[in-house]
Symmetry: C2
Subunit: 163 residues, 2 copies
Amino acid sequence: MRKHTISVLVENQFGVLAKVAGMFSARGYNIESLSVAETLDPTISRMTIVTRGDDQIIEQITKHLNKLVPVIKVSDLTGTAHIDREMALIKVEAKEKNRAEILRIAEIFRGKILDVSPTSFVIEVTGDDEKIAAFIALLKPLGIKEVGRSGKVAMGRGSKTTD
Amino acid sequence: MRKHTISVLVENQFGVLAKVAGMFSARGYNIESLSVAETLDPTISRMTIVTRGDDQIIEQITKHLNKLVPVIKVSDLTGTAHIDREMALIKVEAKEKNRAEILRIAEIFRGKILDVSPTSFVIEVTGDDEKIAAFIALLKPLGIKEVGRSGKVAMGRGSKTTD
């Protein structure tokens, strides 16, 4: 049950997310993460969906997606050269004795400090699964209060496009 | 019709996204962007939904979301002190004469170069709507080939949490 990252271009019309999410749900396919937002052309949105399944299941998902009316193009990026990144916002307790260490960890991970209060930091970090997991694992013993993750955004390497 | 950023904690169970997206669609509320991914507790996911509406509509959306079974908590972050950020991946044409300028623009926006080919760059940038729009506007005349955006991730400022 390999993880697959599927990029879906859809017409930015009313109810398109409900159609796509409904197809996954009705057919019993799970969605691990999903992000959707406008592309450069505001009439077209791109969804990045992370799901798990063997080759047969992924083929079925791709087929069903292609049949949905507002879907323009489906690309399974898994197995092709691609970038696969996520943004996480992490609110961490900032006790006096931990503040320097938190800032050091953030620096190593090229994190950005977005908010500082007397008792907390909010740090933004971007990267692949492993990097974000490692960052969270390092901060966890210091006291994580809240985590918000964007879900994956994926793009093929090189000059080719999935548009 | 103000933009609202709504943070929704849901049980990470099968079909939850279809339920939420279906509620928006069935009741005629639009979703401008959405991101969903696990929180620190893998049984709980956080959705960040950007939608538009007057106060009455947003109140209705919040009510309907609260009624959905897998929904744990709904917070409308609009009007409270919060961070509201997005990640964008931008593939831009890298003609010889433009390469230095693209790198300069990326540096100003604290962008990260994720991929380089003889004819293209992929640049990651994070920020609020305005920053991402300004970055895209600067790169557009140089030739943008592809844009992938994560949708918003939002978090209250200070040490309070929405969990």
